[in-house]
């Protein structure tokens, strides 16, 4: 029987503002995704280990403090080095508009600004992670 896609939800580095992470994690779980909640204070290496151990289809990251480009780049590099190019990377949070463009160029599949409606988020996540 096919199961729904597995997505790891996390904040990276030292920023622990997790309102958005909590809310979007619940929205995704309610929509049927299998959410693995990694919480705050993650390193890119830890998320990579989790992706492998949990056989995850995607990682969702929430940012606030300006560390978004650093960690997106690092995680995407690790995915490539470990033949995990198929794993989707989704991000959201306080990210200046120019950086949203830069993140997409790096290969982040979707970037959500604060205040994006639930329906919008679910639609765009489903576009890269179809629900069964």
């Amino acid at each position: 029987m096919p199961t729904n896609k597995r997505i790891i939800m996390a904040k990276m580095g030292l920023d622990a503002h997790d309102n958005g992470l909590r809310i979007v994690s619940k929205w995704l779980a309610d929509a049927g995704y299998e959410v693995i909640y990694a919480g705050v204070y993650n390193s890119a290496e830890r998320i990579l280990r989790m992706v492998i151990e949990e056989n995850a289809d995607a990682v969702g990251l929430s940012f606030l403090g300006g560390e978004h480009l650093h960690y997106s780049r690092k995680l995407l590099d690790l995915f490539r080095e470990n033949d995990l190019g198929h794993v989707k990377l989704i991000a959201g949070g306080i990210i200046p508009p120019a950086d949203v463009v830069a993140m997409k160029e790096l290969g982040v599949d979707a970037v959500f600004a604060p205040g994006t409606p639930r329906s919008d988020i679910l639609k765009r996540v489903a576009a890269c992670l179809p629900l069964v």
């Binding site: 990276m12 705050v40 205040g115």
Partner: protein, 543 residues
């Protein structure tokens, strides 16, 4: 060619707001009158301080304009402080980066990408001295935003700096926030548990308070960050109940150490949020003043009226800012700043409109200060004490909120107090419930937000200047601290750290502030001091 605009408004029906509930769920009545409230009010500065803690309030002196600031290196932040003071800021509020708050140095691997991002990167005595260069420590009050154990390290550096400048400790004016539960991002569980054992942090915070009470009589030893509680998404009642309950836990522990309440209660303050429900917020502050006064007097037996003062700094809410049409945030912050003044608070940080995207620029911080100055000098809102006092609506709402806050405090009390509720995960569950509810309210439009869930205009892209850090700032800070630990004579530091390790391992029940301060004096870095204690109790941090 432009399409014909679709007009949705029907003048025949008129425009109506969706409901008449307050943010905390109180039902606003159609009109309030004598039947709702018919009591006498105390004077300003009179117990239980409903109308304000001073008789003359802003007629005597204006509130302090205290913008939380700091970014990048201590030197860059010193320039920013001088700029803010030049345009009219009257107090300093130093925010370090997260590494500084959780007690790790910039070269700690997990910290490296966050160095200097959300505040000033600080870890050595020399950093503190560079940050406060040319700032008169006895004439300008400074708030330092650090939880224990970092609070002890930073306080030690601050006191060393005063001594080097010939300023007696008795003259130091300011606040060390010093709360291990609310100083990161509110009382969320994991955020406050992962970098230091919470019981030891609390104990060290109390040690510092005890150390400061006789030595720095003008210095504030604790500030409960009720704003960070609110910004997790709880309502005014929950914010007040959780923060007042936490305040009581500290007072209770200090009393149990044998300290006289009238020697320290006046040195405890609060830092609250101001949200957009104007009258409910005014009622919240008035109710919090009443409750704190009663608690100090009746529960803890304070005799000095100053011990009963609920002194409160505020920052306008960041949760109410929108990334959509960010200029709208200027209006929100102005209304909230006015609300704070109508509530009689002691200092204000007006949040800049660009904080929905980045740290504020100099330009937007100046606008925030100007907002306060316009309210102070042009509106007349400052010319009378408690200008909304006696309004049937505000008085009734103050009574209603007070009752609800007491109710929730009783529940917290029955569960053993805030600290127990935090450790058991009850606080975390409350916060999460509130967050999901808030998200639902935003989705359904029950909480109308103009430009976001109401009158949303997808066409307009945000066009604002974005604050940018110097590209080599992080690398320089990492290199600096690595060299600091490598070079110079480190023997005294090593000896002091060893002593701190031993004391923590074998005598953790005794005062730890003094051995920590000795290590600071010996020029140990922030993380070296914290690590000595982490190692002593076998605590490991996330890598």
């Amino acid at each position: 060619m432009a399409e014909d605009p679709k007009i949705e408004f029907d003048h025949g029906k008129g425009e109506k707001i969706p409901h008449f509930r307050s943010l905390s769920g109180l039902e606003y009545r159609r009109i309030y009158n004598r039947k709702d409230w018919d009591k006498e009010l105390p004077d300003g500065g009179e117990y239980p301080f409903t109308r304000g803690i001073y008789q003359d309030m802003y007629r005597g002196r204006l509130w302090t304009r205290r913008q939380q600031s700091g970014f990048g290196s201590p030197e860059e932040s010193n320039d920013l402080l001088k700029y803010l003071l030049k345009v009219g800021q009257t107090g300093i509020n130093i925010d370090s980066d997260i590494a500084g708050k959780i007690g790790v140095d910039p070269d700690y691997p997990l910290a490296q990408a966050d160095v200097g991002l959300q505040g000033t990167s600080m870890c050595t005595y020399e950093d503190m001295a560079a940050l406060f260069k040319d700032i008169p420590l006895d004439r300008i009050s400074s708030t330092l935003i650090f939880p224990p154990p970092a609070s002890v390290v930073m306080m030690g550096q601050y006191m060393m700096m005063a001594r080097a400048e010939g300023i007696p400790w008795e003259s130091l004016i300011g606040t060390m926030m010093n709360c291990p539960f609310t100083q990161l991002v509110g009382p969320t569980f994991q955020a406050n548990m992962d970098f230091f054992p919470i019981d030891l942090a609390l104990k060290i915070g109390l040690d510092l308070m005890e150390y400061l009470i006789p030595r720095c009589p003008k210095w504030n030893i604790l500030n409960v960050n009720s704003r960070n509680i609110r910004e997790c998404g709880v309502d005014a009642v929950q914010e007040a109940a959780l923060s007042l309950a936490l305040g009581c836990d500290f007072v209770d522990r200090l009393c149990k150490r044998g300290l006289d309440i009238d020697r320290f209660a006046r040195r405890i303050g609060f830092f609250s949020a101001v949200h957009l429900d104007l009258f409910e917020e005014v009622a919240k502050f008035r109710a919090m003043r009443r409750i704190w006064a009663r608690l100090m007097k009746e529960r803890f037996g304070a005799k000095d009226p100053k011990s009963m003062w609920f002194r409160c700094a505020v920052q306008t809410s960041s949760l109410t800012l929108t990334a959509q049409e960010p200029m709208n945030n200027i209006v929100r912050a102005a209304v909230q700043t006015l609300t704070a003044i109508l509530s009689g608070v002691q200092s204000v940080h007006t949040t800049s409109y660009d904080e929905a995207y980045c740290l504020p620029t100099e330009k937007t911080q100046k606008l925030a200060i100007r907002t306060q100055q316009i309210i102070a000098y042009e509106t007349g809102a400052t010319k009378s004490v408690d200008p909304l006092g006696g309004s049937y609506l505000v008085e009734k709402m103050t009574d209603e909120l007070e009752e609800r806050i007491w109710e929730m405090m009783k529940e917290i009390d029955s569960r053993g107090g805030f600290v127990e509720c935090f450790k058991e995960g009850w606080v975390e569950a409350e916060l999460n419930r509130a967050r999901y509810k808030l998200a639902d309210q935003m989705e359904s439009g029950e909480l109308p937000i103009v430009g976001m869930n109401l009158f949303r205009d997808e066409e307009t892209a945000a066009d604002i200047e974005i604050f940018r850090q110097a590209p080599d700032m992080q690398a320089k800070r990492i290199e600096y601290v690595q060299n600091y630990k490598k070079n110079g004579n480190r023997d005294t530091a090593r000896k002091a750290l060893k002593n701190l390790y031993e004391r923590t391992r074998s005598h953790a029940g005794e005062d730890l502030a003094a051995p920590m301060l000795e290590a600071v004096e010996a020029r140990a870095t922030l993380q070296e001091v914290c690590d000595a204690m982490r190692e002593a109790v076998g605590f490991s941090m996330p890598e």
